[in-house]
Amino acid sequence: MLKVSDPVYEAIRQHGEETYPHECCGVMLGRVEAAVNEVVEVVRAGNTRTDSAHNRYHIAPQELIRIQRQGREKGLDIVGFYHSHPDHPAQWSPTDFAEAHWLGCSYVITAIEKGAARQTNSFRLTGLSEEAKKFEPEPIEVTGQNIPGLGPEIEAAPVGS
């Protein structure tokens, strides 16, 4: 399961809307528990595939190292990655699979249709080796409804109070 707070989840989806018609990508930092990858924050990554940014993404290793170091300073690990599929379903592609090497991590894909975020799916890269890896769909639990001012259940404070 992927656990993510509402504002972080929205930040992932919004990133894809902003970069449309190009793909966006980013790194998810958080904590790995037994069966849960918990996302605490996301870091936007520059898509270095400028030659075909509309349907390819790539994060430079130097950038990953920098993000990993930033996370480490806060006690957070890389738990996964996200990217968008402009005008394409939120399903992993053969390229996504071939280029996925972070076993145990979550790969989140958001479909962006004509600039608006639609479906967001998460796939866990499972298996103990590169040869045995596979993508398994995993549920996304969006939390944060109980954080004051962030969730739909909380009413905004009256103006002037």
Binding site: I65, T95, L103
Partner: protein, 109 residues
């Protein structure tokens, strides 16, 4: 020196995110790592002993593949090595064939 371990490979380092090793070169440091944690070998190297194509090793901020002396580059105690699997993908709308195992496919083009 310190070797930083990415999340997926920590199952082989008793969950440690960094491992302290000693060696005079990058090669010696990496082999100290694989002798300490033998399971690392097959995750870092192909059968013929080459670094797997998707595994990047960085000495501080430099890709070891592009260092003039490569893995023979001398290292100091305060240097760090980072092992970082690559991150890429795409939506494949161009219709090019791309299958797991074909390392030289569309995504490298």
């Amino acid at each position: 020196m310190k070797i930083f371990i990415p999340t997926p490979l920590r199952v082989y380092t008793e969950k440690q995110d960094a491992v302290e090793v000693s060696g005079r070169t990058i090669e010696e440091a990496l082999s100290a790592l694989t002798s300490k944690y033998p399971d690392f070998q097959k995750h870092l190297y192909t059968g013929d002993g080459k670094l797997r194509s998707f595994v990047n090793v960085y000495l501080n901020d430099e890709d070891v593949r592009y260092l003039p002396q490569g893995e023979q580059t001398p290292v100091q105690e305060q240097d760090t090595l980072s092992i970082i699997p690559s991150i890429a993908g795409g939506a494949d709308r161009t219709g090019e064939p791309c299958h797991p195992g074909e390392r030289a496919c569309c995504c490298r083009g």
